[in-house]
Symmetry: C2
Subunit: 384 residues, 2 copies
């Protein structure tokens, strides 16, 4: 059998939190597997909120595995990237010089070996770097939703060469939602509707409500189990779900923005962050939601329905909020924190395409990012 030629993918990683560190770990542990598949990933830069560690020679084979492992250990212990200096042929750039160095690297590698700029940060601030990288012919992979959910022009720019961008983990973490929707679109099967439960936290809340618990108790338990954001209102407000909905809507070709999405928050503004602290919300605020939620759950149940917090993308744009759904639908059957997405199209008309599974977690999110990187391999130079 002929030895397969191998592709080499240089990577700069922005963001070295839970997801970024898992990605570096997966890259290291998959080396033998990827070698067998004829592909090699070389990490030539890693950035966080304050600085960028970059290989002295970005044309080199990149950081060695010991350095990558040490980056993970240091960042997870709360040490700065500067603590890694001297552990390999690399340099440190502080912000804002760090940003210039990312663009330099994109310029140097974009049109020669190619470069994948991977965004595992959680900020809008990377969008300029990502657009710059696209301008220089680089590829972009995102777990970070924010660059895709800002101005429409930014989205348009980032996807202008659609073969060079991947963003699977922005919706449903590693679940193959974006890849599947992209396949359906490419095959000319027009998607008429996508409905999904895209928040593990809200999925958990809804299924506990169905079991008769009070929302105040559910939220407090979820917070203590680490299922929620530090301020649970970041989940209950629905903005994170709306961002995922916007990405799907834009993928379907809708020229809309966050302000066009109708988002139903599970708490009123009187209980919002401007009105009270997280602690006050947990101690005296959330309990004020118990009665009305109980009534909505009961009203739904009287009709044989259940209440779900869903994101719905149709021809009329994107809506996010509570819906009464038949107990016996894929969304109605959902229990616990799994995500589920139903896609309706000509081929999936009466019975939708359903994709379901864990839609959060550093491991699966990073696995999705890694699969995205590898999916770009045909664009990279092959060596015999």
């Amino acid at each position: 059998m002929p030895k397969p030629v191998s592709s080499v993918l240089p990577v700069v990683l922005l963001g070295c939190g839970g997801v970024g560190r898992h990605l570096l770990h997966h890259i290291v542990s998959c080396r033998p597997l990827h070698a067998k598949q004829g592909v090699a990933i070389r990490v030539v830069g890693v950035g966080d909120s304050s600085s960028l560690l970059v290989a002295d020679d970005v044309h080199s084979s990149g950081f060695d595995d010991a350095l990558l492992t040490n980056i993970c250990a240091a960042k997870s212990a709360g040490s700065p990237l500067s603590s890694l200096l001297g552990q390999g042929p690399c340099q440190l750039f502080k912000k804002p010089e760090a940003n210039g160095k990312v663009i330099d690297t994109a310029t140097v590698l974009g049109r020669s070996s190619g470069l994948v700029l991977v965004d595992c940060s959680a900020t809008y601030d990377t969008v300029g770097l990502l657009k710059g990288a696209v301008d220089h012919g680089c590829c972009v992979v995102l777990a970070n939703k924010k660059p895709l959910t800002g101005a429409y022009e930014d989205f348009e720019k980032l996807v202008s060469n659609f073969r060079r961008i991947r963003f699977e983990s922005t919706v449903g973490a590693g679940l193959p939602v974006i890849a599947s929707v992209t396949r359906i679109i490419a095959s000319g099967d027009p998607i008429s509707r996508i409905v999904g439960s895209l928040s593990g936290t809200l999925g958990y809340v809804m299924s506990e409500l169905e079991d008769g618990k009070k929302i105040s108790e559910i939220v407090k338990t979820a917070k203590s189990l680490g299922y929620t954001e530090p301020d649970p209102r970041d989940d209950l407000g629905g903005m994170d779900v709306a961002r995922k909905g916007l990405i799907l809507a834009r993928l379907l070709g809708q020229r809309i923005s966050m302000e066009d999405i109708n988002v139903e928050s599970l708490y009123p503004s009187e209980l919002g962050p401007d009105a009270m602290s997280t602690n006050d919300f947990l101690e005296s605020g959330v309990v004020q939601l118990d009665k009305s939620m109980e009534e909505r759950v009961r009203a739904a149940s009287l009709k044989g329905n259940v209440l779900r917090y869903v994101c719905e993308i149709g021809t009329a744009g994107c809506q996010v909020g509570l819906r009464e759904l038949p107990k016996d639908s894929p969304l109605g059957r959902l229990r616990g924190s799994d995500n589920v997405v139903e896609v309706y199209s000509r081929c999936y008309e009466s019975s939708p395409l359903v994709i379901q599974g864990a839609g959060a977690g550093n491991d699966t999110t990073a696995a999705g990012v890694l699969a995205d990187i590898l999916d770009l391999q045909d664009l990279f130079q092959k060596t015999a």
Copy 2:
């Protein structure tokens, strides 16, 4: 915005039945969409069981859309490919010369513009052509399971350059099963188990049995509705499911063959094709299965379970047959003819990744083939 460069994909299609014709139809109707995406498919040859119609100049822009439409119309009316001669600059080759012409085309185009050899036939006979195409650096896309389920060496040869082959529609038609499993494997997330209901016909049979109907009545109704193969025993025997299981098992790296798969047939050999005709089976054979099936359904139901015909791939190989499953599992909840696949891995450990939807039909199968062809586009020459 920079105009995206475009990829041109020359295609030779083997098999012009229900799926092949739908594929040609989709290719024609998607031209504007694909042009926007910067990709163009040019069909330079179409073959059936007796001959091959091929463009005079395979470097040309291929058959025009009028000819492609006429090919579909002629084949669907039962006319031979020879009836198309004179409708464009093309030639006809009869078998066995037709096979030589396929290889010639693969030789000429494989190392220049590239070629995608698409197999929408239903025979083992194409395997030699497919292997030849691989040898010449061509890409291969299959809806036909047979070339992947013969000798292990054939499979190994066909997937030897894994980036150049796609076979989504061999399992679950257009459902993104193979693509999703491939992503999970590439990300280093080891798959421990796949369980699926991979036959729409048997899914229908099982859900009707659950509703208390007799298997003899169900099979006769299904046959009259066109849900089964001409001889329903081709569905009831489980071999088609076993072929899908074998493809999944081989994808997971198992070096196994059909004879290693434990397949439970729903009818005993006394009721098989060697013992009686299709008509006799329908009139006096299948009724002999009523009592034992009724008992199995009842036994399952007493334990709160339902009976499903499943394919299970684990570390111990592949098993195909009836299983009692909790009513409340993704497989147990399945109704009607949808396929469903559960994938268990490190990331999907307690709760599997579930993919569900229509797993048969010419439209969705052809859409899956088309998505596969487009997924190869980065391997093809770009024109500015």
